[in-house]
Symmetry: C2
Subunit: 233 residues, 2 copies
DNA sequence: CGCCCTGTTGATACGATTCAAATATCGTGG
DNA sequence: CCACGATATTTGAATCGTATCAACAGGGCG
């Protein structure tokens, strides 16, 4: 439970036109005119690990596209403990609820150094009513978020600890290079998988000892994906 | 695992104008003209418990509004077992993915006698691009589905068996009368909560013995909500 | 009536949690 | 740069809870 003083930085106005991930972001198919209307007020931000991007209950006025890094969305349980309900990474959109004009529903915290673009929700909302490709893209984003949530339930909240850890490693490797991934603290690992910190630590330690996974640097892992998926079947 | 021969029935074309739940369905705020465009092709259907409404992989061409009853959405795990990822009830919309033109992603099965309205996805899609209140309503539906999924993760997939069962009972009572709910098979209960059939059965049986819940008819339960929420904290 | 399916219960084994302690790692100030 | 304290990780031992395998009771249906 660390507290971060100031670890957010504004790094300028986004150069969307030359964005390296433009093909997979919200505005992938916008024409020049509509694009102009939107690209002006987009800021780029960087967050350090542990930095909070927004909190549940904050007024939701912006959505974010993640350019790099990893963000956790947590939700508090009635009893005060918390559970991580989603992890967002490159090309994911965060804070879609801003389109509805209410409050954020999660605490969003960077787990790795994270770059994101901040988009004013009202501009996106306005444009999406005229521009049908943005409209469809938004629909697709809602859908993707929902699919991720379903997968979360089925894969990360079901079965023995070893299987859950394995599935998460495979999931993390999906968008990095195959067979490699970067992890985070055992406490967060537990909060993702619905396990205690000790159990996540034990499970990781044993998988390392058995040679199923190899830790190249602290929290950087390599593994044979075929082999791992067989083990967690 | 039962197989239902024929338990789906067409019960006529919907009389949307006089719909008893119109205020909480997708078209709550449509004006007459737009409403006319849409209401014609809406069919009403009834499904018996155990009947499959659609299957994962089926081409998704319709969405559904649930008028009454209870539907489970299940997802298959890599190892062949399945997990229930959502329960849908009165006023919920099912099959939003039809708006994207792909396939259904779950198996949808009635758990209780269920009435629903079937809406052609293309008509909804077309209309939603012109009509901004429908557009907003759709957005709100995606959002609601996502909130439900998050809650599912946090409440039904976290903590000891007793807490999960308690939270589910409270959840079920939300839209019925307070302090009452109708349940379903222990096998499905386990698939909702990520537990085995035996554990769900044991947990229910013990809560009955302890007087925390009272079974008035088979699978109909009554309980003191204050008391129950304190127990599962 | 007998069969099948669901729910319940029991005994045991396994796995996860809990509490506690030792070790490793990180950041900071001397 | 090293030493120190704070924090995170790992490990251990005991306990608790859930899964597993098995048996049995009750209800519905042919």
């Amino acid at each position: 439970m660390k507290r971060i003083a100031l670890s957010e930085a504004w790094t300028g106005v986004a150069d969307c036109r030359n964005c390296s991930i433009r093909s997979s972001v919200l505005f992938a198919r916008l024409d020049e005119k509509d694009f102009d209307e939107l690209h002006r007020p987009i800021d780029q931000l960087v967050y350090a690990p542990g930095a909070e991007i927004y909190a549940a209950g904050d007024k939701a006025e912006t959505l974010f596209t993640i350019r790099s890094g990893l963000v956790k969305l947590t939700r508090f349980l009635p009893d005060g403990s918390q559970r991580i309900v989603r992890l967002l990474r490159r090309t994911d959109v965060m804070g879609l609820e801003a389109l509805l004009g209410g409050d954020y529903e999660h605490n969003a915290t960077a787990l790795q150094p994270t770059e994101l673009c901040r988009l004013p929700a009202d501009a996106v909302r306005r444009l999406s009513q005229r521009n049908s490709s943005l409209y469809h893209e938004l629909m697709a984003r809602w859908h993707r978020a929902l699919s991720d949530a379903d997968r979360w339930i089925a894969e990360f909240s079901t079965g023995p600890a070893r299987d859950r850890v394995g599935r998460l490693l495979l999931w993390l490797a999906e968008r990095d290079e195959p067979g490699r991934c970067q992890l985070f603290s055992r406490e967060d690992l537990g909060a993702v998988l619905g396990l205690t910190t000790e159990t996540s630590s034990r499970t990781m330690a044993e998988m390392k000892r058995q040679g199923v996974i190899l830790e190249t640097k602290p929290n950087h892992f390599e593994f044979d994906m075929e082999n791992l998926s067989r083990l967690v079947s």
